[in-house]
């Protein structure tokens, strides 16, 4: 595999781009692996990479039923930020952001991480006070780039929002995280896949896990569409399909529901929006940024009813378009190019699980709600640490399945135990 460098790009430019090789192998499954990771999305691939790179684990396989990054990995709106406030989440997402800042170098793969600012619009004096309280928490706990902007500052940065004082929710200011931004989701999946492959990880596509073989309280093998694979340790990182795998393992219920979330991209436009802008008030929920190709990438709420279908429904298209028009009326004539939906693993408190399970050699990575893209590096980092050492790191101690029994809910939104309300 060729290492990317300015020189290799230059040389291949002169020699007809003939010097590039495959970025990862396409091996046949071996009968046994020390660690089998189910799910070739971002979290599975990042976990494989860090298991090999940080912990020297050899003989790892990532099993993906479709193609790499065909799940939520390639369906999200690519927003990366660390403005979480609950203890545990705070440190976790800040660690993730720090890993993002060096990810292209770490992987020798351009993930196009663009720290273009994340701007949450505020519409009332009360909202400004609440945001100031939260962003002060960020500033006091290692996130110095959190700022509250007044209207004049916001207007200078994003001149073409709807600032009409007579709109239903007039804009009064914004809470801004400046190191937040976007990255290219496909490149993140490919970069981790390439990095993991370089360390000898077998990435097995078109390899669906259809059954879990148990020996007492441990897993001995997984039955796949490409045959039986025995495993020393098994790790689930399958997002919205978690409950199905959990059932295959004979483990009963989980504090998770599968829902679908849609996203949208417009025809490409000339540069229009330099930041991620978020509008959320009174039932509206909308976030938008512009991709490097010029498409406006945006999304809103999930479809409000539980679903395993990876296709969206029309009422949300209308809601999202209405929110777009109320905040960026200049988009009125812009054509929608594509819209799609992904299968999100909504948890009971809106926070994820990175934990051991009732089976001694089975590990769980799930419950990412709408927010698992930004979590990718830290999720892989700590999940690998958990699998390698068979104990949770101090930082992920509360991301276990038993937290509700202890009376702990890590609920950023304060929405209560109703999965569809977290986002």
């Amino acid at each position: 595999m060729t290492r990317f460098s300015a020189w290799s790009v230059f040389k291949n430019g002169l020699t007809g781009q003939k010097g590039w090789s495959r970025q990862w192998r396409d091996p046949e499954p071996k009968p046994h692996y020390d660690v089998v990771i189910v799910g070739g999305g971002l979290h599975g691939l990042a976990t494989a990479y860090y298991l090999a790179a940080n912990h020297g684990v050899k003989n790892i396989a990532v099993l993906e039923k479709g193609w790499l990054g065909g799940g939520n990995a390639g369906r999200n709106t690519t927003i990366v930020r660390s403005n979480y406030f609950r203890p545990g989440n705070r440190e976790f997402y800040e660690h993730s952001l720090k890993l993002w800042e060096n990810l292209s170098h770490e992987l020798n793969y351009n993930v196009m991480f663009s720290q273009r600012s994340h701007i949450s619009l505020l519409h009332s004096p009360g909202a400004i006070d609440a945001a100031a309280r939260n962003y002060n928490i960020l500033r006091r706990t290692g996130t110095p780039d959190a700022e509250i902007w007044d209207l004049a500052t916001l207007k200078r940065a994003v001149p073409h929002l709807n600032y009409s004082p007579t709109s239903r929710f007039p804009i009064m200011g914004a809470a801004v995280q400046k190191r937040a931004g976007t990255a290219r989701h496909d490149a993140v999946a490919w970069g981790y896949a390439r990095g993991a492959d370089k360390h000898g990880v077998d990435i097995l596509q078109q390899c669906e896990v259809q059954g879990i073989t148990r020996e007492g309280d441990s897993v001995s093998a997984v039955e796949t569409s490409r045959g039986t694979i025995r495993a020393g340790k098994v790790a689930f990182a399958v997002a919205g399909n978690t409950s199905r795998l959990w059932t295959m393992a004979g483990l009963g219920k989980l504090p998770i529901e599968s829902h679908k979330l849609q996203a949208f991209v417009s025809e490409p436009l000339k540069p229009l929006l330099d930041q991620v802008v978020v509008f959320g008030i009174g039932g509206a929920h909308f976030y938008i940024s512009q991709s490097d190709k010029g498409g406006m990438v945006f999304g809103g709420d999930l479809d409000w009813y539980k679903s395993y279908a990876q296709r969206g429904n029309l009422p949300i298209v209308q809601d999202t378009a209405e929110a777009a028009m109320s905040i960026l009326p200049c988009l009125g004539r812009v054509k929608l190019l594509r819209h799609w939906s992904g299968l999100v693993d909504m948890s009971m408190d809106g926070t994820h699980f990175l934990c051991k399970t009732p089976l001694s050699n089975l590990y769980l990575n799930a419950g990412w709600n709408y927010g698992g893209f930004k979590a990718t590096p830290a999720s892989g980092w700590y999940f690998a640490d958990l699998i390698a050492n068979d104990r949770p790191h101090e930082k992920i101690r509360n991301f276990d399945l038993k937290r509700f029994e202890r009376g702990l809910q890590i609920d950023e939104r304060g929405a209560g135990p109703d999965p569809k309300l977290h986002g």
Partner: protein, 98 residues
């Protein structure tokens, strides 16, 4: 759009309704154990396939309904009032009408 045949109002778009959640949960008695309440409040089967769920016809008759719906295809298999007394009254009325 999912179309839901409300027993009181007829077939309507799902956007008139609000989704409640898993309708198979039996909430325990108020003095039941902590564990029983934990399971009812936090734990879900999260079925891929036909599940029983609650919907509220919030922009219609405002009745709560129990619906069997396929979570993969969104096909609806049955709709009945969530209140068992109403469901029984409706079905005996239907029988009387036959």
């Amino acid at each position: 759009m999912i179309r839901i045949n409300c027993p009181f109002c007829g077939t309507r778009d799902h956007s008139e309704f609000s989704y409640g959640g898993d309708g198979s949960i039996d909430y325990p008695a108020l003095d039941a154990t902590k564990e029983a309440w934990h399971d009812a409040v936090f734990m879900r089967d999260n079925i891929c396939g036909v599940q029983l769920e609650t919907w509220h016809h919030v922009h219609g008759c405002r009745m709560w309904l129990k619906i069997e719906r396929d979570t993969l295809t969104h096909e609806i298999h049955s709709v009945r009032p969530a209140h068992p007394g109403l469901a029984a009254a409706l079905s005996s009325e239907q029988e009387a009408g036959q």
